[in-house]
Symmetry: C2
Subunit: 447 residues, 2 copies
């Protein structure tokens, strides 16, 4: 056995980073699916495609489920699922931040100011000590989240252990933007609960913005002298603008939210916009009854996603910005890619544009395949596909009824949604050699 493991690791070392990632993902996925097949993981019979679906959904931090997490899995099974999305979340955040740092003009600045200052990391960025920082960051947040959830769950008729387990599970699930829930109707019962709304949002936003952005802003406020990087500012302002626009649009459009009163109406609109953008995928309203325009807005927010340094899926705000800069330069017939008078390097724009198109092609063919296998409407199918591709996990209610073929397609899309961006990122990271002679006013953003 040990020999096989050694052989596997030797095999991994010989691969390109992209292939390494893919095989690593597949390995965890298969181990997860096998663990979930164990008799003490599940309460009854679950077909292999459903355990594979659950495992893929967990490791990709999507949160879509074809079977009930509490109805069909034991606490051990739930623990395996949590482990998978914890590994998926940390792994993804580490990789994205690593790529970000290694392909950024800010590397030196960031390394010096953030990493060394806050976490005492050596000069050269290496994956191992860096992974340690990310894990510390993650555990800190998840402990705070667990405490907040524990307080928030005071009204539930649970014993100590059940309340603790629910708090831990949902804290990890929210921070990793996994969106798995032990409640059958998600957070619908907590739609008017301020503390729960805050806790989920706080964790999901922290996790989706990620380690780099968070430390950048943390240092600004903790040590007044620190200057926040252009990328961090861009991501945070873009995130806040889109989050606000989404909230306002949903507040004034969705009938099932407009009937809610006072604060609850605001909570529900904010939560829907937040859940789509951070791609956490928890829900406080029934997404199956949304009107078509709100479905489309949610799809758009899921497609965009949040920050390239966190656990969120989707296209990312930086990719959107670079694509806008690209189109603008073509329409204005100028060679430089400008966004609010700041030049974006060509390599970044290239990565952004190809990711943008790649996502759209996967979306279209995903939807096309499902229209063949599923007897459902286009809006519900498109919502499911975009949710899987953005690793969001929201659904209009078709996941449980998917055909075998439909499940297989969604598994592939979750896989692509999680690894697609990384693959592009790594390809560009290899190709991209920063030009030190570039103009002073050229700012680099991560894609």
């Amino acid at each position: 056995m040990k020999n096989y493991v050694k052989k596997y690791y030797k095999f991994l070392i010989g691969l390109t980073p992209q292939r390494n990632l893919v095989y690593g993902f597949l390995l965890y996925n298969v181990i997860g699916a096998l663990l979930l097949c164990l008799p003490f993981s599940r309460k009854g019979d679950i077909s292999f495609i459903d355990t594979l679906f659950t495992s893929t959904s967990a490791i990709s931090t999507t949160g879509l489920m074809t079977v009930g997490l509490t109805d069909q899995f034991t606490v051990f099974g739930q623990f395996v699922v949590m482990l998978l999305f914890q590994i998926g979340g940390i792994g993804y955040m580490t990789f994205t931040t690593y790529i970000l740092l290694n392909t950024s003009h800010h590397t030196a600045k960031w390394r010096e100011r953030i990493l060394n200052a806050a976490f005492a990391i050596p000069e050269t960025i290496q994956l191992r000590p860096f992974l340690k920082s990310v894990i510390i960051f993650t555990i800190l947040f998840e402990i705070v989240g667990t405490i907040l959830f524990y307080i928030g769950f005071a009204d539930q008729e649970w014993g100590f252990w059940e309340r603790l387990w629910n708090s831990i599970f949902h804290s990890v699930s929210a921070f990793c933007t996994a969106g798995f829930s032990l409640f059958n109707s998600g957070f619908v019962d907590f739609v008017d609960d301020g503390l729960i709304n805050f806790t989920v949002s706080f964790l999901a936003i922290a996790g989706s913005l990620g380690f780099i952005i968070f430390s950048d802003f943390y240092l600004k406020f903790a040590r007044k002298k620190h200057e926040v990087s252009y990328t961090s500012k861009l991501i945070l302002s873009g995130f806040l603008i889109l989050l606000s626009l989404g909230t306002v649009a949903i507040y004034f459009t969705e009938p099932s939210i407009m009937i809610l009163e006072g604060k609850t109406r605001f909570y529900a609109s904010f939560f829907q916009s937040m859940t789509a953008m951070t791609t956490v995928g928890f829900n406080t309203i029934d997404n199956g009854v949304m009107i078509l325009p709100v479905t489309m807005i949610t799809i758009l927010l899921m497609y965009i996603g949040a920050s390239p340094s966190g656990t969120s899926g989707g296209l990312k705000i930086t990719t959107l910005v670079a694509t806008v800069a690209y189109l603008r330069s073509k329409l204005k017939n100028c060679k430089d890619f400008l966004f609010f008078n700041t030049k974006i390097p060509d390599g970044r724009v290239d990565a952004a544009v190809s990711t943008f198109i790649f996502y759209l092609i996967v979306s279209f063919f995903g939807v096309l395949l499902l229209t063949f296998s599923e007897a459902d409407t286009l809006d519900r199918i498109a919502f499911e596909v975009l949710s899987a591709l953005g690793t969001v996990g929201l659904s209009m209610g078709i996941t449980g009824g998917l055909t075998f073929f439909g499940k297989a397609v969604i598994i592939c899309i979750m896989f692509i949604g999680r690894l697609g961006v990384l693959t592009f990122g790594l390809a560009i990271s290899r190709a991209y050699v920063p030009d030190e002679q570039e103009a002073e006013d050229e700012e680099d953003i991560a894609v």
Copy 2:
């Protein structure tokens, strides 16, 4: 009056080609709408938005109608509509071919071999004599089409003039890929008529491939020595491959076609694939009852369109090829844009990629706006928007029931669908200076 016209032309000359195009389009559009408002153009009251819709639909050769062409307009009104799509078709084909020739590496070759040989055009390409060749090409085809339709309409209980008028109208409509029909149910009654199927397809394919491609192949067969250009080969083979794939997919999927027998089933599948790709927009089946997968396939074909040198709308095959080459180069991490071992120039790829994204953004926001104003399903709305953007004119039956806002949105989309590509084309044409030193094996394709 004459003074104003002079002033208008002076105004036009001072503009950039893009603005010139836009203002020209608007002028014809307003003149058309005003002519259609005249009492002897219409049989009853038609609101201004409907005449504007009809006029925009005609000048952009789309063919969508909010009111019945024979029910609501007199023969004079129908004649105005025909004049508008004739002008739109010729104007568009002239402009696209002009851009193609002026931005192509093949200019010299093409000018010499095609233009001079076939139409005795002087060395320098000028718009006026070139326009003449396109008009001759158009009239020749439309006469042949009229004769074929006249024979095909033998079974109809019409007098000579009515039969002639129907033959002329449908011949011009097919060749300009306008898709306006004097029959309320389009060509549904002719679904099993071989001659009518052939005539429509022949005219639409010739019109959508356009003057350059047609002469290129004509010369190959007429004068054996002529070598067909890479672009022409690429467009024709791409067109034939997609047309065949579409036909086969529809043949084996669409229930309303699968119930047809023998040749008719083939005719109907071929016609549906052909009408979407050439963007002519005539129909022999009821598009309102198609199953979802076939709707998606039709949307895809409408989105792609055919050749950049003809009257068809959509993205064009060349743009698709260049976008595929772009993605391939990014995934493979190589600098050159290759398609089957042929290098595509950077400028072309840039134009293609920006057009591709631009089209998608317009599609999404068009659909989003209509979900607010129309109480209809996503598939029917998406079909309508893509049909308008590709200037196709197929509909699942929602055009007549559109709200005022919905009509305004579709008018804008038809406008963008017709001028969007030209605007990009001209922008690139200004920016693009062919590099004579480029490698021998680098082939240029038109976008």
